[in-house]
Amino acid sequence: MDLSFLHVLERERVLEVLQRDRNLRMIEEERIRKMKCDLQELRRKGAKSYARQYGERTCARCQRPLGKLWNTGAVCRGCSHRICNRCRVGVADWKCTVCYAYREVKIRSGEWFLEERAKKFAATTDKYETIGEKLLKFYCVQRHIAVVPPTPPPHMEYEFRGRFRELKNSKAFTQSMEDLMVCFRSHIKKFSNSQNDVRGDLLTVDPNGKASCFRYSTQKSLSDTDINKSCSLTKRESLPNLFKKSKDSDHESSSTGAEEETSFSSEHSFDHRSSISSISTECGIFEGILVSGEMELAVAYNSSGSCLEITVGGCRNLTYGNSKKKKSHPYVKLYVLPDKNSKMKTSVKKNTTEPVYNEVFKYNIERHLLFGKRLQASVWHSGTLTKKVFLGEVLIPLDAWRQENSSFQGFYWYPLCPKAETLNGVTAENNGH
């Protein structure tokens, strides 16, 4: 598909329309991102765990005890957990709050549509890219050829070239075009080196909760706490009615045994797909790749060994690290932030988007020091030579594991997100090998 059959003026008209479409799409992507952040928060909260009497029958969502005669709870059809009256949405055909939120996000984000379409156009292009987006990308790049200085590329990700190769119109696209893309890429790279700043602001939502502002500030990098702060700002009521119920029940703030979450998510059809992927255009721009899928992790504190035990179960529904060849050799890298010397890596699994690792990592740390620490687990595609392609990450605040007897220890599927922040360690990924 290209616009070469149009007259110049016609093409301009069409590109104008596509530009308007892009504006709308950006608003939509931001809306979806927030929605999915809220959902992740809901899941996280639901899974946060405090001491719980062994064997006591409790609601899987709010952890209130269930009675023997009244309020005995009933099994949710979505996740098969026993749920109290208060944590149900709907009457006859009810679902628990989390299952309901999943379903709702899937509808409201348009994920249902992408899934349906993927059934029909299975192996064709990028699931998330609209035709308008594709055309616009191609033509905007082409129109700016003259502007970009022809500097040699410092490094380039194969993946990115691959994507553009798909877009190109073979006759219009020449080697110089590719060079152009390369330096375009390197410019973006430079720009994204100061991502700490950018990120903080990307996440900032104005207090009215209206349109978010993409301010690219010049302030120097945010400290960890600042980042946390701005993260919490993103939590706004984009699904106002949806989460109320669970919020109400949350202040007792007990929670599910995580093993329950595990069986829940494996049954849930929403989990078959990416969570944050459709919204990751910003990631798409920076990395030339879209994020999708989930990662299965179990985190536990081992008191006798004074260490945090992180088990990487596996991933599913990953994007291809090399979309041209439809290949992925994924591995998982872990950091206990902000400790940059805490890098741990799994083995690389070849040719799969559903890698299973079952690898356990130990990080020595006193329990009370977990306060303010976060686990960053990122998936990378180990490409040819030293090329590493980012496939998504999960950030987990570790505060919950400070409690003794924390029962939040089982496996849990976390949705993969676009890159939240640049760490020294992450940038080093490209050079350090």
Binding site: M1, I27, F113, M344, E359, V360
Partner: protein, 218 residues
Amino acid sequence: MTDGDYDYLIKLLALGDSGVGKTTFLYRYTDNKFNPKFITTVGIDFREKRVAYTASNPNGTATGKTFKVHLQLWDTAGQERFRSLTTAFFRDAMGFLLMFDLTSQQSFLNVRNWMSQLQANAYCENPDIVLVGNKADLADQREVQEKQAKELADKCGIPYFETSAATGAEVDKAVITLLDLVMKRMEQCVDKPPADPANGNGAAKLGEGQPNEKRCAC
């Protein structure tokens, strides 16, 4: 006009022969105005409208819940020379307004062709479509009888409306009917049981594999 304060973004698309009134129809729907001038649509265009949508039960009673829906209404050029461009946009739309001109038998005959274009290019084999016979106000020039069009619509299992972009008659109704179909479709899509049962339960994996301590040296 756009901010992110809505619950659903629904993308609909109008298609049909050139001159049947797609552009005029959409303009009537979004701005409630009529433009008698014929300005050829260049390839593609879209208009937007924010509407309140109240979900209804299968029996037709309102459930009381009202949502804000942001409609993106794609307009396409009917002319052959834009065909490759316009049909490419079919795949990004969730529902379709298939229009013909009640005063042009030819535009009605072409409905079948547009149907097959949709089948080939839309996101699924049987997308939600509403058949629209436009220019109902030009009664004396009518060439397509209601019965004829209704038969075709019934055969395809889609709703049919006779509208007038000039007077506004039935315009809203046609769009809202399509919106309703799409909204129902979304629910069906997420509620139907997944085709492949999820295999591999996370908890089951716990035992497998050999938990080996690893620390990267590099």
